[in-house]
C-alpha cells in the first residue's frame, strides 16, 4: 500500500525577529491509504498547525507536502482551493454548519461549490446523510439537532464529495465521552476504507484505541510514534 500523503521538513513560524515563534521545527510525515492517524500532544505543541499545513490551508515556511503525488504548496491558491474541495474533507471542532440551512443543504455545500446541479447535489447529500444515520432529520436545521447529530452532519458534509483524506479537528471536544467514542467508532468502521486516510487531531485519550498510529507532538516536533496496527 502506497502513501496518500507525504510531508518533509515542515517548518512553520509565526511573527518576525524577536517575536518569532516556531510552531513546526522540521516535521516529516507519511500517511498510508486506509490509515487512521491520530496527532496528539499538549496545547501549543503544533498539532493544529501541522494539520493546517498538510491540508493545504496554511503555507509552511519550509518543507513540502504531497497528496497523491501532487506537491500542493506549488499550486496557485485558486487551484489549491479546488484541490482541497476535491480531495480533502474537513470536520471542524465547532462543526461550522450554517444554522439557518437544513442538514441536507449544509451537506450539499461542497457539491454546490463543485458546480454539481442542485438536485444531483441534494441526492448525493441525502445518501451521505444516510451513511451517518440521519436520513430522517434531513430537513432540520443544526440548532434542532443534538451535538452528536451535528457532528454527524459535519461528517456527512466532509464525505459527500468522496475525498481521499478526511481531517478531524478535536472531534470529541464538544461531545460527552460516550457520544465521542461512538462517533469515532462509527467513523473508524463506516467511513474509513482502503482508498482514503483519516487524520485526527485530539487531546482525548479515551479514543486513542481507534487509531492505527498515534503521533505525539511536543514543541513543534514529533516526539514519538505509537503503531497500533502492528
Amino acid at each position: 500500500m502506497g502513501w496518500i500523503l507525504e510531508a518533509s521538513k515542515l517548518v512553520k513560524w509565526f511573527g518576525e525577529k524577536s517575536a518569532k515563534t516556531f510552531a513546526l521545527r522540521g516535521v516529516d510525515l507519511k500517511v498510508a491509504y486506509g490509515e487512521m492517524l491520530f496527532i496528539v500532544g499538549p496545547s501549543g505543541s503544533g498539532k493544529t498547525t501541522l494539520l493546517s499545513v498538510i491540508s493545504g490551508i496554511l503555507r509552511p515556511n519550509e518543507g513540502w507536502v504531497k497528496i497523491k503525488d501532487v506537491e500542493i504548496w506549488k499550486l496557485k491558491s485558486s487551484d489549491l482551493a479546488k484541490f482541497r474541495l476535491h480531495n480533502i474533507g474537513f470536520v471542524f471542532q465547532e462543526y461550522h454548519l450554517f444554522p439557518k440551512l437544513t442538514a441536507l443543504e449544509n451537506v450539499s455545500i461542497p457539491l454546490i461549490l463543485k458546480s454539481i446541479p442542485w438536485h444531483e447535489a441534494q441526492k448525493k447529500a441525502l445518501a451521505s446523510l444516510e451513511i451517518v444515520g440521519l436520513k430522517d432529520k434531513i430537513d432540520l436545521p443544526p440548532y434542532k439537532l443534538s451535538g452528536g447529530e451535528q457532528q454527524r452532519v459535519a461528517i456527512a458534509r466532509a464525505i459527500v464529495s468522496e475525498p481521499d483524506i478526511l481531517i478531524f479537528d478535536e472531534p470529541t471536544a464538544s461531545l460527552d465521552g460516550e457520544t465521542g467514542k461512538n462517533i469515532i467508532s462509527f467513523v473508524r468502521h463506516n467511513i474509513l476504507n482502503d482508498k482514503r486516510a483519516i487524520i485526527v487531531v485530539t487531546h482525548d485519550a479515551r479514543i486513542f484505541r481507534f487509531a492505527d498510529r498515534i503521533l505525539h507532538m511536543e514543541d513543534g516536533l514529533i516526539k514519538n510514534e505509537v503503531n497500533h496496527a502492528s
Binding site: 493546517s52 482551493a81 480533502i88 471542532q93 439557518k100 457539491l111 458546480s115 458534509r157
Partner: protein, 379 residues
C-alpha cells in the same frame, strides 16, 4: 455563479428575517427619499419652464441679457420686423408675458400671470374647454385657465367681470389646464394689444418674438442673423435648459435638493451597509470554513454581491412603488404638488442603489477576503 450557490446565498440572507427586513427597509427608505427629492426637483424645474412649454414656439428671440423667463427685457418693435425678413422664418409673432393684479369681488387682490397673444394669429393660444376662443377679441375679454390656481380667482364663470389694474375685465372662455407655473398664480390670456394697454409697460412692450421656421435647418443661420442685430435666438429646448440651469445653479434650489438627496443617500447607505456588514460578520466563521472546504474568494465574493444586489433591487422596487403611490395620492389631495417621476429620476435612483450595493458588498467582501481558513482551526 452556479444556481445552487445562488439558492444557498439567498436562503442564508432571507433566513435571518430581522436583518433581511432591516436591509430592505434601509434601501427602500433611501430609494423613497431620493426619488421623492429628485421627482420634486424635476416637477419644480418643469413648472419653472411652463411659460415656454405652454406657448410651444420653435424659436424664442430675446434680449441677450435674459437669464430666465423671470427677467424679461422688453424688445423694440423693429426686432419683430427684422426677424420676419430673415431667411428661413415662416412666421414671427410678438408675445407679452407679465403679471397683473386682479381685484376680487370680496375686495382682496390676487396676482395673476398675463399672456398677451398676437392679435392676428393668437399664436400660443390655450385649448378652450368652455366658451369661444374668438371672443377674445370682444371688449375687455380674458380667457381664464381652469387649473389648480383657478379657485384663487373665485372660480369665475363665463361672463364674470373683475378688475385688473384698474381696468374692467370679462371672462369670455375657460381653457384646459396647462403646465402650472412655479409661483402659484392663476393665468389669464388676452390679446397682445389689450395686454399692453391694461398693464403697465416700459417704452418697449414685446417680451419675446416667437418664430416658427420653414425648416429646422435654418436655426443656426437665424441665430447668427439675430446675434448680428444685437439679440439672441434660442430654440425651445435651449431656452428650457437655460431656465432650468438658472434655477438649478443660481437660485440655491439645486444645491438644497442635492443636499437633501445626499442625506437620504447617506442614511440609506448607513442602514443597509451596517446591517449587511453585521450579517457578514455573524457568518464570518462559516465563510472561513467554506474557504477551508475549498470555496474560492471568487465564490464568496459572488455570494456577497448576489446577496447585497438582491436586497438592493428589492428595496429599489419597493421604494419606487411607495414613492409613486405617495406622489399619486398627494396629487389627488394637493393639486399644486409638483413632483413628477421621470425615467431620468428612476435611472438616477437606480445608480444610487448600485452605489449602496457596491458599498455594502465592499464592506462584507473586505472582511471575507481577509479571513484565513486557518483561523477556523485556531478558533
Amino acid at each position: 455563479m452556479n444556481t445552487g450557490l445562488a439558492k444557498i446565498a439567498i436562503k442564508l440572507l432571507m433566513s435571518d428575517r430581522a436583518k433581511f427586513f432591516t436591509l430592505i427597509l434601509g434601501v427602500t427608505f433611501a430609494v423613497f427619499l431620493i426619488l421623492q427629492m429628485t421627482s420634486l426637483f424635476t416637477g419644480i424645474l418643469t413648472r419653472s419652464t411652463s411659460n415656454v412649454l405652454n406657448v410651444g414656439a420653435q424659436v424664442w428671440i430675446m434680449d441677450p441679457t435674459v437669464q430666465s423667463d423671470r427677467t424679461i427685457v422688453p424688445l423694440p418693435d423693429y426686432v419683430l420686423s427684422a426677424v420676419r425678413s430673415m431667411p428661413g422664418v415662416a412666421h414671427a409673432f410678438p408675445i407679452y408675458q407679465g403679471s397683473g393684479l386682479v381685484k376680487l369681488p370680496n375686495g382682496a387682490y390676487q396676482s395673476v400671470n398675463i399672456v398677451g397673444l398676437d392679435d392676428d394669429s393668437l399664436f400660443g393660444r390655450p385649448v378652450i374647454i368652455e366658451g369661444n376662443l374668438y371672443d377674445i377679441y370682444s371688449e375687455d375679454a380674458f380667457i381664464v385657465v381652469k387649473d389648480a390656481e383657478y379657485k384663487k380667482l373665485g372660480s369665475p364663470k363665463i361672463g364674470a367681470t373683475f378688475e385688473i389694474n384698474d381696468h374692467r375685465g370679462v371672462i369670455v372662455a375657460i381653457a384646459r389646464p396647462i403646465i402650472p407655473g412655479l409661483f402659484g398664480n392663476p393665468t389669464l390670456y388676452t390679446t397682445y394689444t389689450r395686454a399692453i394697454q391694461y398693464l403697465p409697460t416700459t417704452r418697449f412692450t414685446m417680451s419675446y418674438v416667437l418664430v416658427n421656421l420653414k425648416d429646422p435647418s435654418y436655426l443656426d443661420s437665424l441665430k447668427q442673423e439675430v446675434t448680428r442685430i444685437g439679440y439672441r435666438a434660442l430654440s425651445q429646448d435651449e431656452f428650457v435648459n437655460m431656465i432650468k440651469n438658472y434655477y438649478m445653479f443660481k437660485t440655491g434650489m439645486g444645491i438644497n435638493i442635492l443636499m437633501m438627496t445626499l442625506i437620504s443617500f447617506i442614511v440609506g447607505t448607513s442602514i443597509a451597509g451596517q446591517t449587511f456588514y453585521a450579517f457578514v460578520l455573524e457568518n464570518l466563521e462559516k465563510f472561513g470554513a467554506l474557504k477551508a472546504i475549498g470555496a474560492t474568494n471568487g465564490d464568496l465574493i459572488k455570494t456577497i454581491i448576489l446577496q447585497s444586489s438582491f436586497v438592493s433591487f428589492l428595496g429599489f422596487g419597493f421604494g419606487n412603488l411607495i414613492c409613486s403611490s405617495y406622489i399619486a395620492f398627494a396629487k389627488m389631495r394637493i393639486p399644486n404638488y409638483a413632483a413628477i417621476i421621470t425615467h431620468k429620476d428612476i435611472f438616477m435612483t437606480f445608480i444610487v442603489v448600485i452605489l449602496i450595493t457596491a458599498f455594502s458588498s465592499y464592506l462584507g467582501i473586505r472582511r471575507v477576503i481577509k479571513i484565513e481558513p486557518f483561523d477556523v482551526f485556531r478558533g
